[in-house]
């Protein structure tokens, strides 16, 4: 290997980890964050505060309420004979069940019962979950208590959830958090490392030194590819051993896909740095890139729903490709065609960014 380049990489690596706080940021915080977010966030809605208005004779509704609490999704709301709307508005309950006059039990006997559910829909996802939960609890309670067994529908679906049959939240979330952490470290580091030298003027010195432009660019960026890749085993260990995320695909394919991703983020970081004059700008530009990248990654909301006019934003998002790759390789074993396509897309992005950075450097240097 070119000795100039090697020296460059060595210097850059030493400089990056010289500050003990930087070592902490690079090698400890990813593990902490993985654990934190993996445990904390889930798609399942729980601890919904439920209130129900029923009198002593309304046995079915009382049973619905008690089963809801016992089932674990709901907790009792502390209420005292208030108007259901104000209860929810004042934030004392998330959902309230209101029976028809005379009680729900008698109304079902008459055959035209309407049970009203009021629910706080400021969180749309939670509101839908509440309705689904109560619907199924209600069906079971009526069946068990009143022996009203509705006939089975003639067409039934046998639903199989592939790859994550028990819908374990951490199995969804952990690959998402993994991809975000890989993005954050590499992107910020590369971007700021270059801009810092520009700001304090050492970059000018480099240019006047007898090194070629490609030596400067690769010397400044390859170390961050190394650092980014050194993060992979750390967070992968947490994913597999702490969160029991299955590792169904080949480890080598995963390393290859991650390498492509890290190269892409480092290359984009380099390209962004050519537009920034100081570190303040670099940090904002980093945010400008990373926040949309996270939003369009597919972890927060389905990419399928994005209107066609701005769908291209998601296609340009390296994080979306990497999250897709992680899920495909870890959970589905890795489909050769899918992995091939998306690794190629990442590689193309990396190459385009590198070429663009070269051009930018040439114009800014003259």
């Amino acid at each position: 290997m070119n000795p100039t380049l090697l020296g460059f990489i060595k210097k850059e690596l030493i400089q990056a980890v010289r500050d003990p706080r930087m070592k902490f940021i690079l090698f400890v915080t990813p593990i902490i964050q993985m654990t934190l977010f993996g445990v904390a966030i889930s798609n399942e809605v729980k601890n919904i505060r439920l209130a129900a208005f029923f009198d002593s004779k309304d046995t079915v509704l009382r049973d619905v309420y008690e089963r809801s609490i016992a089932g674990g999704w709901f907790v009792p709301a502390r209420v005292s004979g208030e108007d259901p709307f104000t209860l929810i508005q004042a934030g004392k309950a998330d959902a309230v069940l209101v029976p028809p006059p005379g009680g729900f039990t008698r109304a079902v006997g008459r055959g035209d019962a309407q049970l009203q559910l009021l629910t706080d829909a400021t969180n749309v996802l939670q509101a839908q979950a509440v309705e689904n939960y109560l619907q199924s609890i209600l069906r079971q309670t009526v069946r068990d208590d009143l022996r009203i067994i509705p006939p089975d529908p003639p067409i039934r679906f046998d639903v199989r959830v592939l790859f994550n049959p028990s819908l374990e939240s951490s199995i969804f979330m952990v690959p998402g958090v993994m991809s975000m952490l890989m993005l954050m470290t590499t992107m910020i580091l590369t971007n700021i490392a270059i801009v810092r030298e520009k700001e304090i003027g050492t970059f000018e010195m480099l240019i006047s030194a007898p090194v070629s432009r490609s030596e400067v660019i690769f010397g400044k960026t390859l170390p961050y590819v190394v650092i980014g890749m050194s993060n992979l085993p750390l967070i992968l260990l947490v994913a597999v051993f702490v969160f029991r995320v299955p590792m169904r695909g080949s480890f080598l394919v995963l390393v290859g896909a991650s390498f492509a991703f890290v190269c892409t983020t480092v290359a984009i970081g380099t390209l962004i740095s050519t537009f920034c004059q100081n570190q303040q700008q670099a940090s904002m530009a980093g945010f400008l890139f990373m926040f949309p990248a996270m939003m369009f990654s597919g972890l927060f909301f389905p990419i399928e729903n994005i209107p066609a006019g701005i769908r291209w934003l998601a296609t340009l998002d390296p994080l979306a490709h990497y999250l897709g790759l992680l899920r495909n390789i870890l959970l589905k074993g890795g489909d050769a065609q899918y992995v091939g396509t998306h690794v190629t897309i990442l590689a193309v992005m990396a190459v385009v960014s590198v070429i663009a950075s070269f051009r930018r450097f040439r114009t800014t240097l003259q």
């Binding site: 904390a40 966030i41 009021l118 689904n132 049959p165 927060f300 899920r327 489909d335 899918y338």
Partner: protein
């Protein structure tokens, strides 16, 4: 060294900071334009009501009933039907991400149906994609009911009915849900970034030493540095508010003054947090790392923006209390959509006030300590 706080000195620091901002149009544009652009893009893009899910269908029955079942899926708008040669083909399509769900109709489907034995079709869901699997599973119930009615004329009387009233967002509009929350997330990280580098930059280029040799007090520096950015932040929030109301039609039923108070406290807290990072790290590179670590992921994932705090494990329901974004998330959603009274949100306001004061004091104290050799 207890000397009194002098406004003129604080305002001199503020004036200098204003010049600094004005000289760097990039920062100015970033602070004012970025939130607006983000709200416009995500307001358009984000929709939780999944539609057009690619469904890979393997029809081994090839009967009138099976075709009508497929048609029921297709006409629901929830699904986009594509053919798979065999049951294994449907499975492969889901594995290779060519489809999000599979439908396998077995050869005896119509026979079973006509014989009254009840016909079963298998549905495969992609458990690797959290954002679609839940909603799609929810649609299946209603498709089962509709298909039974259309194909087999099955429409039994229902002895009861659950009537749901979705309060504050009756049509379950994703935008109403997302935009107030998105404002909180964007402004949180933006505020930290605006201030995180300012003091660190002055340490690095030596102008801080200069500032310290003047009679300016730490609190005056902190307040002077915060004020201009707070004005920027309030302007940005105002723009976002106008867009949320005018472009996306998000209702605002609460008290605007209450919301405004929340905005000021929230901005103050995060701007001060940025300053604290700056004072502690003294190096822009590390300040930036800390800013992203403490701002980007926590405010996105732990504030209740999309994943409700109440659904988290008990430890995290308490742990997230140290996140100002969590409290402002409550205030933003409740004032926009619910019209909650100030007293109903007392806890959130108390917490925000506490964090705002605590952050400013912490930054000042740290600063003082740094001055002594």
């Amino acid at each position: 060294m207890i000397r009194s706080f002098v406004w003129s000195r604080a305002s001199a620091v503020a004036r200098k900071e204003v010049f600094h901002i004005l000289r760097d149009p990039f920062t100015l544009a970033f602070a004012l334009v970025l939130p607006v652009v983000m709200i416009l893009i995500y307001g358009t893009a984000i929709d939780f009501n999944v539609e057009g899910v690619a469904l890979s269908v393997s029809d081994e029955d090839q009967s009138q009933s099976s075709r009508r079942l497929i048609d029921t899926f297709a006409s629901s708008h929830y699904f986009f039907v594509q053919g798979a040669g065999s049951p294994a083909g449907a499975d492969r399509d889901v594995t290779a991400e060519r489809a999000r769900a599979g439908l396998i109709i077995p050869p005896r489907f119509e026979k079973d149906l006509l014989a009254g034995r009840g016909a079963q079709a298998q549905v495969l869901l992609d458990g690797a994609d959290n954002s679609t699997v839940g909603p799609v599973a929810g649609y299946l119930d209603s498709i089962q009911t509709i298909a039974s009615k259309r194909i087999a004329n099955f429409d039994p009387p229902q002895p009861y009915e659950l009537r749901t009233r979705f309060l504050f967002n009756p049509e379950l509009n994703s935008r109403w849900f997302v935009i107030p929350g998105l404002t909180v997330v964007v402004m949180a990280i933006l505020s930290i970034l605006l201030t995180a580098l300012t003091v660190a930059r002055e340490w690095e280029n030596g102008s801080m030493e200069l500032l310290l040799s003047t009679p300016v007090q730490p609190l005056e520096i902190i307040v002077g540095k915060l004020a201009p950015y707070a004005v920027l932040g309030i302007l940005a929030l105002l723009f976002v508010y106008v867009i949320a109301r005018a472009v996306f039609g998000v209702p605002f039923v609460g008290n605007l003054a209450v919301f405004g108070l929340g905005c000021v406290l929230f901005l103050g807290t995060y701007l001060a947090q940025g300053l604290l990072i700056s004072v502690v790290t003294r190096k822009q590179q590390i300040a930036m790392q800390f800013a992203f670590l403490s701002g980007l992921l926590p405010s996105n994932l732990l504030s209740g923006f999309i994943f409700p705090v109440t659904s988290m494990p008990v430890f995290f329901q308490y742990f997230t209390m140290i996140l100002p974004a969590r409290w402002f998330m409550t205030i933003a959603r409740d004032t926009y959509l619910k019209g909650s009274r100030f007293l109903d949100m007392g806890g959130a306001f108390l917490a925000l006030t506490f964090f705002c004061v605590a952050m400013i004091l912490a930054a000042t104290r740290r600063f003082k300590r740094d001055l002594e050799p």
